[in-house]
């Protein structure tokens, strides 16, 4: 399975958000999208999920134009997890929410197979005991897991997650990203994940795309993309990048031209260098 994004441009009204974005992802891969606020990460993800249609450019899924997919095929191919904060308008149980993900597969009745998939999705995310709870009664982290389980219930080839870890505690962050990694590696899915946390992005992604003002500023292996120079240019932040057994350790030190504080003097000496730390 090959996901090809060719020359995608998008604008809200007259404000261009994405300009000529081109890249390929293959199944088995986990792609991270990083970049500062307003760099177009979420917009790009929404174009990939066919929630938005690119103004210019084409997206191919195995040489099939994404724009040509008909209704439910979209949901069977692409599983989108919205950013935290989008909930249900009306009371809804966890099980009902997850069954929404079966919409692309069913017409009216919920069948045996739908319930099997739903129970596996519940179990996969450790939500088994919460099945008949109201969504509104859960913590934001649990709710986020429910939304991931809903995408899982779609049984898609491509998973598209917008900031899945933003409301999760440390343990849940690791759990969720490890699950996504497993989906990519063991189940040959294709995972695209928008992340703010550069450390997590570097650690779990096979490849990274760094967006800057709607364009791809850098793409490739995490070490190459998240260099101190790139972080300085794109984020306007001095950072120390260290490499250890678990991937990159990125410590943002101070904003360029920003107010100074106590630790910075020491930090500045090392900033701008990639350190190799023996772990």
């Amino acid at each position: 399975m090959l996901f090809q994004i060719k020359g995608v441009c998008f604008s809200y009204g007259s404000v261009p958000v994405l300009e000529n974005v081109t890249f390929n992802v293959q199944s088995g891969e986990m792609l991270g999208i990083v970049g500062p606020n307003g760099s177009g990460k979420s917009t790009l993800l929404r174009c990939l999920a066919r929630v938005l249609k690119p103004r210019v450019g084409t997206i191919f899924l195995d040489r099939k134009n994404l724009a040509d997919l008909r209704g439910r095929e979209v949901g069977r191919c692409l599983g989108y997890v919205p950013p935290p904060g989008t909930g249900q308008a009306f009371p809804c149980t966890v099980l009902e929410t997850i069954l929404q993900g079966r919409r692309p597969h069913l017409t009216w009745g919920v069948g045996e197979r739908d319930l099997v998939v739903a129970s596996r999705a519940l179990d996969y995310l450790g939500l088994t005991d919460l099945g008949d709870r109201q969504l509104g009664e859960l913590s934001s982290g649990q709710r986020q897991k429910v939304f991931i389980a809903r995408a899982l219930a779609q049984e898609p080839v491509v998973f598209l997650l917008d900031e899945p870890t933003a409301t999760l505690d440390v343990r849940y962050q690791l759990e969720v990203l490890a699950l996504m990694q497993e989906l990519a590696r063991s189940h040959q899915r294709l995972v695209v994940v928008v992340l703010h946390d550069l450390n997590l992005a570097a650690r779990y992604s096979d490849h990274l795309i760094l967006l800057h003002e709607g364009r791809i500023f850098a793409a490739g292996a995490p070490e190459a993309v998240l260099s101190p120079e790139n972080i300085r240019t794109v984020y306007g932040v001095e950072a120390v990048v260290a490499k250890n057994r678990w991937g990159l350790q990125i410590t943002p030190v101070a904003p360029l031209n920003g107010p100074a504080n106590g630790d910075i003097l020491e930090g500045k000496e090392m900033a701008g260098k990639t350190l190799a730390v023996q772990a």
């Binding site: 929404r46 209704g71 009371p91 929404q100 069913l106 919920v110 596996r120 809903r150």
Partner: protein, 370 residues
């Protein structure tokens, strides 16, 4: 594409519990439908039996069966006339109106993702009121024509046209803003106020007789019920509700947000157009014949949400039945509470319904909206 098949063990152990939970929920929803249907049927019998001329339940059944040529219980000529010509049309019109207002309310709330929405709050009723006021006060409507001969039909058509027009205007207004639900809701409310001002103006300039007729129309009621009316409203109601049920899953998914719905393969703007169109059609048709009846369209869906949740496959039909039961009950009360004088049904729905709804709102501890 068996994504999760690799994982077995605990997931499979979990399956019976999930299945049990799902069938328990579904059973509850089906049970509510059956109970409501039973209550409605009993209500129809009871409501047909009570009134100025008391008729026993046996006579009611006898009269209905006699009509179909089954003389099981012989019913008197009087009972037959009262049941068949007076009571049943009125009962059926109340049932149909309750169904259409509650069904339209449930769907409008769902598609606009707003718990405060109903045909009444969206301005549809105000539009219909303006249409009716125009016909009553000016004796002329969009269609023109001789007042005396066409009076009743003029009111009905005008009310229907202007009720539907409110929603069409609100919809067109919202298309300028990418069909945002908030714009649609606020636009409907604003247009509703505009028409209300029109109604006030017409009230102010009308003569004594017209004013009285208008005030009575505005309070809503089923005085004008006859078989012809029922025959006109019934196909619209059942057709529209059937059409709305077709979109039940799409509405469910839309509850999760537009983006998720779009990703799940729902054509959001198409679903909005069709569901709002059908619910406008059904609500306008009912309001045109009965006048303004608030409350039912707002509250019936919420009572059902509290009982069975928000699955539109069950929420829409159970809201319809709930609306029918509530409105039939209110109308029966309106006819009998200070008989032989009748109260406008709108007074009863609000007077009885509001405290009941507030009670439910407080009693339920769970947080249902938000």
């Amino acid at each position: 594409m068996d994504l999760l098949a690799g994982m077995s063990g605990p997931a499979e152990k979990n399956l019976p519990a999930v299945k049990a939970a799902y069938s328990r929920y579904t059973g509850r929803k089906v049970l509510l439908l059956i109970v409501l249907l039973g209550v409605l049927l009993l209500g129809i019998l009871y409501s047909t039996a009570v009134g100025a001329a008391g008729i026993s339940g046996k006579d009611v059944i006898g009269a209905i069966l006699a009509r179909w040529g089954l003389k099981v219980f012989p019913a008197s000529e009087l009972a037959q006339t009262v049941v068949w010509q007076l009571r049943l049309p009125r009962v059926f019109l109340a049932v149909l109106t309750g169904m259409s207002l509650a069904g339209a309310g449930a769907v409008m709330q769902g598609v606009l993702r707003n718990p405060l929405v109903s045909p009444y709050t969206l301005g549809l009723s105000s539009g219909a009121a303006f249409g009716a006021a125009m016909a009553i006060v000016l004796g002329t409507g969009l269609l023109g024509g001789s007042y005396l001969a066409l009076s009743k039909w003029l009111i009905v058509t005008n009310a229907f046209i202007f009720g539907a027009l409110t929603m069409v205007l609100a919809y067109l207004l919202a298309t300028f803003k990418g069909l945002a639900p908030e714009v649609l809701v606020l636009g409907g409310v604003a247009i509703g106020y505009l028409f209300q001002a029109g109604v006030s103006l017409l009230k102010y300039i009308s003569n004594h007789e017209a004013l009285r007729e208008l005030v009575v129309w505005l309070m809503g009621g089923f005085w004008g019920a006859n078989w012809q009316t029922v025959g006109l409203v019934a196909p619209v109601v059942f057709g529209s509700i059937g059409g709305l049920l077709y979109f039940a899953w799409d509405l469910n998914v839309l509850g999760a947000g537009e983006e998720v719905a779009a990703n799940l393969g729902v054509n959001v703007s198409r679903v909005r157009l069709f569901t709002l169109g059908l619910s406008t059609l059904v609500a306008s048709a009912a309001v045109a014949f009965t006048g303004i009846i608030g409350f039912i369209g707002l509250v019936s869906p919420h009572i059902c949400r509290m009982l069975i949740g928000s699955d539109n496959r069950f929420l829409i039909p159970s809201s319809c039945l709930m609306g029918a039961v509530l409105l039939l009950f209110s109308d029966t009360l309106a006819r009998t509470v200070i008989a032989p004088t009748e109260l406008p049904v709108g007074i009863i729905t609000a007077l009885m319904g509001s405290p009941f709804f507030i009670y439910l709102l407080i009693k339920k501890k769970r947080q249902w909206w938000g």
